[in-house]
């Protein structure tokens, strides 16, 4: 008797679809896997509906992409956690909040106001906003409510496997395929909380020339002038999150002569990658001339860096010790 295939579901939170395409870009490996498993839910690629998903009691592996932004995402995640033997947080959004966590710098109402009222091409004299109730006879139409703050998965449920990256690629995908195959062949369940990436940092893998001592004289933005493709970015005064970021992505950005923005998330033993990076980066500024500058001048040099939260927490604000604005609503 043929053994029943394992069930895999791909469930979407608030994402961009890039994680879906990254799975498609497994190319023939995906076709191979499709013969070994039963994909029971994946709205991007197959037609199974929510009612079909609800009927399935046990799902071996749920690959959950995207962060949690609405009530519907919350419910889907809770359902997925209940049914799943192995829950994979797939992609930077699911693991750390992703770039949408930057939305947590604002309140829902502020985001709403901008999108549906204040942008120059919007015409909304009647001040309608999405999410309001619509009634047609006895039928009520109401699209899912937003929750207050964007969240990575592990703020709500326990996560078994983390596949970081925006989107996951290279070693991360290799390891995920390994995990799936090991499970199919040997019933192997990975260690809870495992991160499918390297234990090294981007710096450890970076092919660029690193000086013994990195001195940042002046901070430089990437468009200001030519960037030496052989030299460490930090040594050129350009912010690069290599020191605090996990490796396993293959360093494609750095190879394209652009600095790392940290989408692989914090290296092991780093709790809050943005804060940790401040600790590292600040040290380097004028580090060989500290005594020749006054305290005020040093502070001024450091504070020339614009937008710390956008640089240091681009993909990982969901992992910040402070992960959302602390303003009073209506202020600022």
């Amino acid at each position: 008797m043929a053994e029943e295939k394992i069930k895999i579901a791909v469930c979407p939170g608030a994402g961009c679809g890039g994680c879906d395409v990254s799975l498609v870009n497994l190319h023939e490996k995906l076709l191979e896997l499709s013969e070994l498993v039963d994909i029971v839910y994946w709205p991007t690629a197959i037609d199974q509906k929510m009612e079909d998903l609800e009927k399935i009691e046990h799902i071996d592996i749920v690959i959950f992409e995207g962060s949690i932004r609405t009530k519907a995402h919350e419910e889907l995640l809770k359902m997925a956690r209940k049914k799943a033997k192995i829950l994979v947080a797939y992609g930077a959004c699911a693991c750390f909040g992703g770039i949408y966590a930057l939305g947590n710098l604002f309140f829902r109402k502020e985001l709403l106001e901008m999108g549906y009222l204040l942008t120059p091409s919007t015409e909304n004299e009647q001040k309608k906003f999405p999410g309001e109730l619509v009634k047609i006879d006895n039928i009520i139409i109401k699209i899912p409510e937003l929750i207050d703050w964007n969240m990575p998965l592990d703020k709500l449920v326990s996560v078994d496997v983390y596949a970081p990256g925006c989107p996951p690629r290279d070693k991360v995908l290799e390891k995920l395929v390994e995990v799936i195959k090991d499970y199919i062949e040997n019933g192997l369940v990975p260690e809870r909380g495992v991160v499918l990436a390297d234990i090294k940092t981007i710096c450890d893998e970076c092919p660029r020339e690193k000086p013994d001592k990195i001195v940042i004289r002046r901070f430089r933005r990437i468009h200001e002038g030519p960037v030496d493709p052989e030299k460490c970015f930090l040594a050129q005064g350009i912010i690069c999150l290599g020191p605090v970021t996990r490796s396993g992505c293959g360093l494609p950005c750095i190879k394209a002569n652009m600095p790392c923005r940290g989408c692989m998330g914090p290296a092991p033993a780093v709790k809050d990658p943005g804060a940790k990076f401040i600790t590292s980066l600040a040290s380097l500024i004028e580090v060989d001339r500290e005594r020749s500058l006054s305290d005020e001048e040093l502070v001024k040099r450091v504070q020339e860096i614009p937008d710390p939260v956008g640089y240091f927490y681009r993909f990982t604000l969901g992992r910040g010790i402070i992960d959302k604005t602390q303003r009073e609503e209506g202020e600022g």
Binding site: L105, W149, K271, D272, G274, A275, K276, I278, T279, L281, A282, S283, I285, V287, E290, R291, D295, L298, V299, V302, Q303, I305, D307, P308, V309, F312, G320, I321, I322, K324, T325, Q326, R327, E328, E331, G332
Partner: protein, 138 residues
């Protein structure tokens, strides 16, 4: 937000050689200063990781004080204090973006003989935080 009952919780990261010694001297000299501060000795302010400050806030601190050796020459480990100075400068910018008053973090140079300065700074800081009100983190 005025609240007469509000007693700020201050965490002080004090370096062993200067800041902590200065605090010790204040104590030995029986100088009065508010009891709101809980002191943590670190070998050098250069040991201060910005994560500690955020963690202190997360755990309930309304203000964080860092006290180290005077620049340019007093640091026992040569340049640890400069690192702290720069880190706190960048942290303050981050705090502003996150909607936390950057004045809730304060960095001071307080030598081992400056017991009086320690007491003054703590008094001043507690009053300032009282005026700001408690930091109720979401």
């Amino acid at each position: 937000m005025e609240n007469d009952d509000f007693e700020p919780k201050i965490i002080g990261f004090l370096c062993k050689w200067c800041g902590y010694a200065g605090a010790d001297l204040a104590g030995v000299s029986r100088l009065e200063y508010p009891p709101n501060i809980v002191t943590i000795q670190i070998p050098c302010t250069g040991r201060l990781d910005v994560q500690f400050v955020l963690e202190a806030f997360r755990k309930g601190a309304d203000g964080v004080l860092i006290a180290g050796c005077h620049t340019p020459n007093d640091c026992h480990y040569f340049s640890g204090n400069f690192k702290a100075l720069k880190r706190i400068a960048l942290l303050k910018k981050l705090l502003e973006q996150l909607g936390i008053n950057p004045k809730r973090v304060r960095i001071e140079w307080i030598s081992a003989t400056e017991g009086r300065k320690f007491a003054e700074v703590v008094k001043e800081f507690v009053e300032e935080i009282k005026r700001m009100g408690p930091l109720k983190l979401r």
